[in-house]
Each structure stands twice: as C-alpha cells, then as structure tokens.
Symmetry: D3
Subunit: 327 residues, 6 copies
C-alpha cells in the first residue's frame, strides 16, 4: 500500500503536501526480515502503472525478492495517515477498495514454486495476516491454498489475525473465514479478547485463551501478543508474552516517549519474533524480547517499516535505553 | 479530484513527497468564475471523510458556494500527475474509479432548486464537461436532467465534450450518450476532429464542422476551441476561434514559455469565455481573447486552477506579455 | 493577522523559510465555531492587497461568513513566532502597527445589520477580546458601539480582556477603556490577578473576584478561566473553572505533552465554551469541559486555529486521552 | 529589508510557506562589493529585535562591515514577492512604512567617522539610491549630509535615482529633493525618460540627456544605464551604455533565459560597474561590461543579492555563455 | 558516489539543505540497463557504514544485482553539485579522495565468477569508464584484469575514456594507462580531440580519428560520440555519430530546453547505445538514436540516473517531441 | 566541519535530502562567545573551495573574526548525523580524514600575532579541545605551540580533552600527547573516569581526581564537568560541578525534555563557563550555572551551535523553566 501523510502534526485540512511511504502489514514483516539478511519473498499483486513500479522498487530497495510479485489490473491500495500527538489520536483513512491485490484468486499463485526453490530447498517460514482474507473472497482463497501448501510441505506458518472492521465487505465474516486459516498455523498473534471475538473462545486470561486455541487448533505451538499501555499518542509502554503450551514467558516493560510513528510496530514485533525463532540458538524469551525491542525501535522511525540492524535491536533488548550518541 | 504530484520534475519512482492540489474540470471553471465575483454553485458529491472535507474547503476558499455539494459513500477521485519538461511529456495516472461522484444517480440533484434561488432569480449559466457522463450511468443521467431543467428554465448551457479514452467503462459509449446532452447546449467546445469522432460530423474545416453541428443541434449558438501548437512540454503556442453561425472570430497567437503547469488550461479558457459572454458589453472577440488570455496565464500557475484577477487577464489580452515586475 | 514562523524549532536567525498561517484571537474563535456548523460572521478590516485577499480566503475556507470583512488602507498585521521547546520559551515579535484593522473608526461598522439578518433573525452571540480596544481609539470606539448594539438587541456578549503590554500605544490605558466594554458582557474570561490589575478588584480567590466583578458589572452571568501549569514549553497541564454567581464548577486536569503549538489555545477554550453554552442541553460543567477539551486539542495542532470535530473534542472531554489510532 | 516569497511560481493565495531573504538596493550593492574583497560599510538602521539581528547577520555573513548599522525603534521593512513566469509578471507588495530606517534623521550618522577610518584613510566611494530620500524627510536629510561630507572629503559619489511611485509619502516630491542630492554625484544611473521625469531634462537620446545632466550637475563624470528588452518574465535581453562626457561606450547584448530571479539585477550592475571603476587598470568599456555581466549572472541566482566571484563574472563578460559544467 | 546539491538554483553559500542522490558514471549505466530488464551486475566497493548501505540500496532499488559489490575501509566518494541556469554554469566540487572504491587492488575481484554465472552462462557485455583507472593504481589494475578476462571469455567490452583533469593523482597519466585498457575494447566513446589528447591520434575529422584508433586497437568495432551544442546551461542541442569501420551513421539533432539536470546524460547515451546493440534486430542507426534519445530524456530528469521506459525513449527517438500530456 | 543530517527522525537509508549546518567543537565555542559580544578569533584551515567559503561565511555570520582562518589543500571535514529519539540513539558517521585542518603543521600559525593585537592588547582567553591533537601530528604540534605561546603571554588556557576513539590514527596516543598540552591549562574539563583513562589518575571521586590533576599539572586552577543522566535520546537531566582547588561548587539539576539537538551541548557549557569567568563580577557558582544553563538551552536548538542571548540564559540559570511564551 501507498501511504500518504500530511507532514509533521498537520491535520488533513492543512496539508499542501503529503509525505509518501510504502507499507502494508505483510510487506513490513518482509522488509524487516530481508534487511536482516533473511531471504524473503513477498507474494502480492500491484497495478501495472507507475505506482506499481514504485512499490516494487520499494521492496527491492529493502532486499526483498520480488520475483513473485504479480502485476495486473486494479488500483494501488492507498491509505491516508494523519499523525496525532499527545491526546490527539492518529487517524487513518483507508482507500484500498478494488486494489490489484484484491483481484487475486484461488489460482493466482503457484505456491509450490514459491515455497520450494530451483534447488529443491524448502522455505523456512510463511507469514500471513488477517488483512489478506478480509480484502476479497479471492485473496482469502489464495491465502488458504498457500497455508495448505505450506502445511503439506512442512513450512511453519505464522498468522496475525488482525481485525479491521472497515474491511470484510465481500460477504463473509472473519468468524466464517479465519478458523480454516488458523488451523494451519504454528504461531498465532492475539489475546483473550481477540480470540473471544473471532473464535468464540471463552477464557479469562490470555494464557487460558491461548491454551483453548491450541486445543482447538492442534498445529499451534505458540500464541503470543504484545501488551500496550497507551498513555497518549506520544507515549506508550510495551511488553509481550508468549505461551508455548507449557508456560508463558514475557518481557520487561519498555517505555516509548516520544512516539515518532506508531504504524507498523506490530509488524516489527512479528518480524523480530520470527527472526528470533529462526535463530535456534535463542531461547523463547530472547526471541520474544528481540521482537519487542524491534517493535520499540519501530516507534522511533518514520514510515511503516522498521529500519534497524540486529545489533541495534539487541542493544535495546539488553536494556540499553539511554539513547547516548553513537559515534 | 485530489491531485498528487512528485515535486518539481521528479518522476514517480523518485518521489518521497507529493504536492497536493484539488482540481477537476468543472470545479476549475467554478473556482475561476467565483474569484472574479461571479456567484457560482458547484454540483458534485464528495466522500464523507476528511478528504471530502478538505475538498469542500478548497471550493469554499475560492468563494464557490458549496451548499449543493453532496457527501456520501464512495472514494475521493484521485489523479497522480508527473510533471514533464522539454521533450518529456507530463504523465497522468487516474485513480477515480468508484468515486463518491460516480454514485450520483438521476435523482440525486434537485435541479430546480439549484437553478432558481429563494428569491426566484434564475441562474445565468450552466456548464458541464464530457467527464461527467463518462464516469457512470448515474452521473450521465443526473447531468441530462440538469441540462433539461436548464433548457426548460432558459438557462444557457455550455458543454466541453472532452473525451478521455480511459473513462466510459460503464457500458455506454460517448457516441451513444453525448448527442442528447449536446442538444441542450448553447455553446460547445470542440473542433472538426473531435466532432467527427464523437458525432460523426464530416467536415474539412472547423467552421464547416461547427456549422454542421449547429444544423444538427439547433440550440447551439457558439462553437469554439483553442488551437495549441506543442513545441515541447515546456513551450506551447496558443490561440482560439469562435463561430457564431455567421462568422469565425479568432485571437492572436500567444507564446507560453516556460510552461509551469499545463493542467486546467482548457478550463481556464472556458471560464474566461463564459465570463466574457456574461459581460454583455464585450464583443465576441473580446470575450474570446479574455478566454485565451486566461488560459495563457493558467500555464504559469501551479495546480489545476487559474488564480488571477480580471485586470491581470485583461493585461495579457491587451498584448502586454513583457512580464515586467509589478510593484 | 498573518503569522510567520521559522520551521520546527529553528531560531529566527536560522530561518531561510517561514511557515505561514493566519490567526488572530477573535478570528480563531470564529473559525472554530464555523467548522462546528455555527453560522459565524467575522468583523474586521484587511488591506486591499494580495495578503488581504489571502486572509479573506483563510476565513472563507473555514466556513466563516466574510461579507462584513472590510478592505481598506493600512497594513496586514503580522507576527513572527519562534517555537520554543523544553525550557526555551516560544517568542513572538509583533509587527501590527498601522494595520488596516487599526484604521476602523466608531462608525465603520453598521452593527444593526451585522446582528440582524435579512429575515430579522437576531444573532445568538457576540464575542470580543482585549486586543481590539488595545489597537487604536478607533477600534475601541467601534467595539463599544458593537457591544452597545448587542446589548440593545439582547445578543449575549462574551469578552476576553486579554492584556498585552506592548499594545495600548494610542494614549489610553486598559483601565480607562475596559470597564465600559466589560459592562456589556454576559460572560467574561479572567482571574483574580487579571481583575486586580485591570479593574482594581481586591479578592483573594478567583470565586471572590468573580463575585466582585458581577457586583460591579451586573450584566455578567459567567466568569471563567483556564488554569495552566507550565512544566515547560513542551509540557503543560490544563483545567478550567466557571462561576455562575452561585457556584464554581470546574474540570479535570488535562496533561498535554508534547505541545505542538501553544498559540490559540485560549481562543479554542473560548470557542468551545461558547459552543457548549449555545447548546442548551449541556450542563455548565459539560460546556466548560468541552471548552477545555477544545483547548487541549488545540495544543496538538500547528497554527493559530483549532481544527477538530465536536466528536473529537467530546472524546477528549470524556477522558479518552489514550491517543489510540482511529481507523 | 526582509523579503518573503511564495516558493517557486506559487501565487500569494497558494502560499503556506515563504522563502525569506534579505535585500534592499544599497545593501545589495554592499554585499556584492564585499564578497569581491572590497572593504564596505553599510549605513542603515534596523529594529532592535530578532529580525534586526538576523539582518545584521546577513550583512556580516557576506563580509560587510556592520559597525555603523544602527539599531532602534521602528519596524523591519518588508516586501512580499511573488515570482512570475512567461507572460505573468512578478508582483511586489511593499510593507516598509515606519521602518527603523525611516526614523533616521539628519544627525543620525557621523559621516566623517564613516568616511575616514582610524588611520585617516579616506573611503574610495559612496553609493546611494533614490529609495533613501523617498522614505522620509529624515532619511533624505541624512543622505544629503552624507553626500555633502563625501564631496568635502573628495569621496566619489554614485547615485541610482530609481523612482518608486508608492514611496514619497512624506510630503516632498522627487523633483524637489533629488536635484540637491544629484549635484553631489560623480556617476549617475538613468536614461532620457527618467531624467525627463525627475529633472525635466528634454532630450531625444540618452547621450543628449546625459550631456544635459552633466551641464546641469557639473560634478557628474559618468552617466550610465542598462537597456533591457523584456521578452517575458522568463526571458530578457540586456546591455548597457555609459557616457563620460565625450563618448558613449556600450556592451554587447546578453540573452538571459530562463530568469531565476529578476530582483537586484540593477544593483548587481551598479556593484559591478563601481568595482570596475575602482580597478583603474580597466577601460571604461571593460568596467561597464563587468557591470552588465554581473547583472546577467544575478538573473540566475535566487534572492536579492549577486553571489559570484569576479572570475565567474569575467567569464560572462568575455562572452562565455555556454554554461558548460565546471568541475 | 553520493551527490549533494543545493536545492533549485541556489549557490553553495545559500544552501541550508542538500538534495542527495547516488550516481557515478558506471553505476548510472548499470541502473539504466537494469530498469530496462537487462540483468546487470555492478562491480565496486562501498564503505562499511550507513552511507555504504544506502548506496547498495540505491542500486538494488533500480534492480541492479549487487552481489559483487564489496564493502570495506575507505570513504564514500562524494561530489557537491551546484545547478547553473542560463549563462551560469553548473559547478562540481569533487570529494572522492580515499574512497572505498579507490582501495580496490588488482586481485580484489574474481572476474571469472563475475562474467560466468553458476549455470555457465557468459555475460553479454562489460562496460568501463575512464574514471576507474584515474582513481588509483589499484582500481586501474583491477579494471585491466577485468578487461583481460572479458577478452578471454569473449565478452564484448565498451569503454568511455572520459578524462577528468582533477583525478589521476596517483603518479600515472592517462596516456600511460589508457592504451592497454583501450586495446580490449569493442566499442569506444570519444572524438578526434579526445583521441588526440589521450592517444596522440592526429586526424582532422572524427571519422578519420576513429579509423586511426581502429588501426591502432584492432579489437575496436565501433567508435561513437555525442555532439553537443551548448547554447546555455539551460539549453543544449544534441546529436550522435557512430563509425563502424566502414561508414559513419548519425542521428537527427535534438533540442533540449530547459535542461533540468545535465549530469549523467553521457551515461544515458552509453546505456541506450549498449541496449540498442544488445537487441540485434535494431540497425546501428536505430541503436544510436535510441542512445541519443535516452540522453535527451535524461536532461529532463533530476539526479544522475535516467529513469525512463524503452517505450518513452522510442517515442523521443521517433521524433515525438511535443511533450503532450500522457493520460 | 560541515554536518549533514537526514531531516527529522529519518534514518540514513530514508534520506533524500540532508539538512546542513556547520559545527566543530572549538568553532561552536567561538560562535557562542562571539554572539555574546566577545571579540573572538577562530584558528583553523578550510579548503580553497566553495565549501570552505561557506564555512568562513558561517563564522562571519555569527560575528567571529575570521582573519586567521587559513585556506589550503585538503578536504572539508564532514560528519553525517542521524537524529535518534526515545530509545534510539543518534548516530554519527565521521568523514573528516585528510581535512584542510589536518594539514596544519607546527609552524602554520603565528601565535604571537594571534594573541596580541595591533595595539598590543593581549587576548583574555585561549580554548582548545582534544579533537585538535587527535587529528594529525601537525595539528597537535601547532596546538602545542599555541598553548606555549599563551602561557608565555599570560593568556589563560582552557582545555576540553574530549576523547574520540575513532580519531588518533596518526601513530600517537592521547596518553602520549595530552599531558604536555594539559600542562599549559588553567581550566580543564573532565571527570575521574576520563582522567583515569587519559592520565592514569587513580581517584574514587571527581573532586579527588581533580585535586590529583592539579597536583600533577600545577597551572590548573579549575577542573569542571557536566553530569548527564540519559533517560533516553529525548530526555536528559543535566548538572555541573567545578573544583577550584579548595572546594567543589555545583549547580541544580536541569530536566531537558524533549531534546531537539544533543550535539554541541558540551561546547555550549564550555562557552558559558568561559563567559562567566571572563565577567569577574560573577561568583564561580554563577559562572558554572550560566554554563549549564547555556548547555540546557542548546539542547532545544537545531544545529551544532548555541544561539541564545545572555539574558535568555540568565533566565534559565535563575530557574525559570516554565517556557511561557515571550511576547
């Protein structure tokens, strides 16, 4: 998606220019992982116009492999973002109807080719979010095929079933669609409240909810989420927990003030956690803390995507929050 | 429409910000006339979001009366504009599908109320362009009702049947739709080539084509057009002619170099000509020259709309092109 | 007034560009009320040059009715604003001597026409501030006539007798001029300290001072003020109180950090309070809290004027300060 | 003066920022000469505020000696400049009434100290323009004292009696005031038309007018002017002539397209000519051509002041107009 | 190289920001070819810091394969560019001493791996310029090995022996070093003047000089150059010729006005010509015209690199210079 | 040095423009003192190119006397600064190798002329920092001569032996070089940790370390340092102490939030302290507090240099941190 924001703290009605950036929840995860040296493919479709070209270049700049990015009819998905401050919330106006992406269908992607490279090496991970099945029946069907293929090939799958009420316009509800997708997941992002709404899970604690989700979806090995205390649009506190079926590990609380850009901080967490999990030498707590530290850093960076080295994130994870100049 | 352009001569792929402006062919005519003191209403529909608010504010800032601007579902129509220079053409990427405007229907507007104010005073003029009937069956039907009402009330009607090949996606052709709209017109913009394509008029000169159009559409009193010599994206030469059923009057040739912004120069011509015609003391040649001079000035002004006083335009019309500093 | 500010936190000596905005204490109140759907007229005079045109367009963009804005000789009032941060205060350099506004005289405005429209409907409210009588003998006299006319027609009058020591250059003191203006007021902004300085009121509490003011100026029904704790240029805490002759109601304390733009926050309070009072269904506390919430939001918005919807303000007033993204 | 311009070719009503620069006709000459290594003092008065500080810093940055710059009451003189293009003229809105400079009086400057330094070395040149006596009776009187002192000390004096119709508001006409000032001049800028208007000189050619001026003002050794053909606001052609009482020398015609900034081009000519005359080894034609080349270069530089080295100007003067990249 | 330019036409001493872009003569050729779908590797070395990371991302964004970009000690080469206009030349200040690139040595690159991919497919082309051997003995030696390897593997080699007098600081002259490099070339850029200076070729015409070069360097099949008429920094006329040992073909003359960015126009020509030659179906004249049209378009694009599609270039090559808006 | 920073909180890889500013630790002290009316000379060398010209103009603008600034071969020292926020540290990439400054040698400066003016008046103070001897053997030798000359002439010397590990590349260590330079100092900046590392001082408290330094370097009268608590990159707390051989005086703790620009805050402290010491009427505590207040203010100002009047600093020193608007 192409994001357009009035500069600084200007309101929409004051804008005479827009800052532009590319984003999108799965793309943000892809970009973060690619910059850390992970070989990442992004699966999507962009329109066959100059905006689509620019979106491909954005991914390529970050090192994401774009060979499976399709180009076709439909629009570039847009969103307009107004940055809040203090007690004024940031505001998003979505303009993504009829995107090229929404026109994907069940058969648009040859998932086998995506997951297994020319030398027969199978992918290490597959990540999806709840935006994709919310866009159109086609994208939902295409994603389902991807998850099924990943399951068949033994590729671990992570899902972030984020719910956006202004999507899901195509006649299906998330309650209809998500269970089948969730069933293919190894790792799921969410908490008791979300699971109650989306899956009808009744549980009083996150751990209990996670356990019930695991019972219902036996492939699940990890359930995780961040916990965010929103003091204001400029000041948040962040931590995370992860339940592995046995115990819940968690991270320290990180203070973020001021927040430069709140968008994409969940994607940064997901990217960091996946990166940690892919590096087997790390403990679950270390992987989780890497994820939160990645998210903490994202709050300080304009745009949708986290731009930071693993060593910068390790530094935050290790509790070095002093912000002393690095020369 | 909201227009988004990379700054200066940057290409789309270089942009990190977009300059934004509001435009749209009928709106541009409305803004020009309003700034000259004409009491103008603009009839359209904008989405019920912050972008729609900003579009209303744009019109209001210029002095256009926005009481008949509707707000509803659908998107804000967008277009992306890359400024060319020298031999590189400017490039437009339209993104206007499913705009709030496109959702207007035959009955969306109470035209009688629009044309006759509370004191019973009838409007002096009604202007439409070929964009409106190209958008959707609903906008075409709504416009037709407007023209019919204008005809019934004796309001003169001008039409600019500009043809955009990437519109007309709703199942009708301009050849189907335009004749009925044109039949209600007093003044029409176009030339032999356009009339041949749209109305099947066969004529070797503009005057002959204009005469045939008048024969076919008896309400027509004036047929007019600009003549543009495009030396490059930065250098054009401009003149205009007008046929009143008896003779063709024309203007001197104006040299424009450099061109700052080519968009909206046709709308500025139309606004200028209408303004001239509404001021009965002017001769047809004077009105036409005012129109061309308005268009010439528009080439020097960033954005879609002409911002200039009548006296500035008179100055150009009078041949003062020296550009000496005004203190 | 036209405001010119170095961008960001730059000092005057670093500036190579100025951000520009229009403001002025009464105009700020007008703009806020107009955007909330109130039918507002602004009474002033701007110079007959391009800057004056731009000032009119600013008001018109916001929906303020500018039919009674006069145009005449004199300058556009200017002020230069340098934004502070942390312990560095913002700094204002006024440059408003000999403004077109200052040339208004006792008879410049036909107040009867202003207050009573063509259909005989009388205005709901009249608001003035202490800037106007501080500019020139003419503006003071003109304002006095306005207040007298409002009183005669039964239009409620609010006054913000803000004191600026660098004004009042025309030979009169606020102590001379303000009492007569204050006598016409229904609602007055101020506190014990200000009332002591301007009116010689001796009282140890705001409530006692307010009561003494009411005794002296029997038209007064409400005395109100904000209470501001200035931790730094970037961090304030804000509340408000209002005395209605019987009791003092007050609001919770709102924390504002970071402050984006401190200018116009008092005007936003006034606009919010007037708006609340004009909506009779609200209690005094609700109206007052709406005013403070409007002011709190203004701190987060660049420029002189509050740009926010009533529902955004209601949200703050209801204590939702978390700043969570609105999608 | 502080100059404020909408960026690029934006009109005043489109501006949301202003580019700022310092200028002023005598200051522009001072800055040009200082950068070329000439020891220059600028005599003026700036307000005792942050804008005055910035104006001093502007001069200091350029190497102008500011020890005789006074600081006092009054405003910073401003002007607003809108850049034209093609047939649209640039437009200036002056806002210089009651500047600190205007408050200078006959006795504000100790001219003897200005012209003779601590070591007794007398100044090489004194330059004034017609702006100064047009501002106030005080500045006119102060300037007259300066010219008289220069005459007494044998300092050559150049005058540019530029006429601005919107100045001269203090009760005197240029026809009253200029003759006495002109009488002290060694070199005068102007042509037959200007001399006719200001001094009542009747002559059909510039040379004849110059000769009559010399007859009337016997101190005059040189009369000079540029000749400008204004094709458009973006394209001028420039040359110059100089009459030394015996013959008229002149320069080639220089083509300037596009014009980046027309302001200050006359001051650049004056600075270049003075610089040429101060370097005795140059012929009159060389000095004059250096002046025109300086002016030609100024057209390509944003702001009021010429920023260019003597060798860059020599290059233009020598006819190297190819603009090939210098590495 | 990282390029830093004052915005617009500002001089260095006016800058408070620099526009940044990445460039470098060989990199510019690589970027142009990569965007046209050619599989391109760029061989260089960037410093191991954030600037080096950004340079890699620049190439990656354009689609250049960066797997052979080395990272090491040394600086990022910089250059500062001031844009001229009209008669004022653009000015370049190089700051490239001790770049990471300059530290390459004879053995830094495994050329065999570069030219032959994992599947044994040999590269189609190798391009170098005279900047590389001018930087250091190491880069010269490294390049020589590259050319020798290309020759051994049958990879055609093009050379652009551009001469920069401010390089060649390491003790060798271009006359010493270039012949050996030139001997490996299939295609060479240059003209009689350059060949006389660099190789001591005595010939009165370009064709004769080209023929003598071919006699001396028997691998040469093509000698080519652009011919540029510099009317001003804003207006050039461009054509090209190519001699293939039998005859000289040439292109029409293209007028470029205004020039937006002159840098990289030679590289665009080279990229276009190589692209044309790699597409065997094109005649030599067609390939050459594609090269000139690419160069013509580059003049209209900010930055060092040509960003344009083959079809846009074909349009120019076909003589469509009208710059009419593309919708 | 020329500093280049991505705007706002952008990371290097996001930049398309750089904000530029001039800085350098000794230059920053010079600029601060010059603006306060102190007659300051800066001793350095800049390259003979347009960047060097701009650096001289920077100093001149601030009022620093540049007559002893040398111009010569070598580069302009650069550094690239990325602004951090919250837990993300600011990051500096130095690019200062082979600067013109580094090419100074023992005999480059005639220190006697520098310290004693034409009228025989001896300088009041000489300040150096640890950057200078870290650059090259030549700059170290040149500085040593300066200190020796100052000692001989009785000029008090202050030293800030700041240690940068990425400098000291020329074969000497700070432990070798600094003692001889320190021996000439009257005032030294540092604390127990730094003195231990640089001079091998073993002491458990700052006061004990300062006393040992005084014992070892008998010229020392004052040892001083700031104490900084880094909550985050956006929030610091600052105080300072000074030991005069008898007792340690200290300042209150100042809270700085948000930090606009952390660079140069140590130089602002040093400038403030020197200014306080040069004004004999102040107590040591007053001088020290003036220094800390200067540093506190610097945190709020973009760029390397403190731009603030003594009265603004006095205000902070007096504890007025409320940041209330100054009108």
């Amino acid at each position: 998606m192409l994001r357009l924001s009035p500069p600084g703290q200007h309101r929409f009605s004051q804008a005479t220019t827009f800052d532009m950036a590319f984003g999108g929840t799965e793309a943000n995860v892809a970009v973060a992982l690619a910059q850390w040296g992970v070989d990442v493919h992004h699966i999507t479709s962009f329109p066959t116009n100059a905006l689509g070209d620019a979106a491909v270049a954005h991914l390529r700049k970050a090192g994401v492999d774009t060979r499976y990015v399709q180009r076709g009819a439909g629009r570039m998905g847009l969103y307009f973002l107004e940055h809040g401050a203090a007690s004024r919330a940031s505001q998003v106006v979505y303009d993504r109807a009829d995107s090229a992406f929404s026109r994907l269908t069940a058969d648009s992607v040859d998932w086998e080719t995506v997951f297994v490279d020319a030398d027969g090496v199978v992918a290490d991970w597959f990540h999806w979010t709840g935006i994709t099945p919310a866009i159109s029946a086609g994208t939902a069907a295409c994603l389902l095929k991807g998850i099924e293929t990943a399951n068949r090939l033994g590729v671990p799958v992570s899902g972030d079933p984020v719910y956006r009420s202004n999507l899901w316009q195509y006649g299906q509800t998330p309650q209809d669609v998500l269970p089948e997708l969730t069933a293919g997941c190894t790792l799921l992002l969410g908490n008791a409240g979300l699971f109650s709404y989306l899956y009808g899970i009744n549980a009083t604690t996150n751990e209990a909810a996670a356990q019930e989700m695991m019972t219902r979806f036996p492939r699940l090995r990890y359930v995780t989420d961040t916990v965010r205390e929103s003091v204001s649009a400029s000041h948040n506190r962040l931590s995370a927990w992860l339940y592995d079926g046995v115990e819940t590990v968690s991270t320290p609380l990180f203070d973020v003030q001021p927040i430069i850009d709140r968008i994409g901080t969940g994607d940064a967490f997901m990217a960091g956690l996946i990166y940690g999990l892919l590096h087997g030498e790390q403990s679950l707590t270390e992987a989780l803390t890497f994820g939160v530290a990645a998210s903490v850093l994202k709050h300080t960076i304009p745009g949708d995507v986290l731009l930071a080295t693993p060593s910068e994130i390790d530094d935050i994870a290790a509790g070095n929050l002093s912000g002393k100049i690095k020369r």
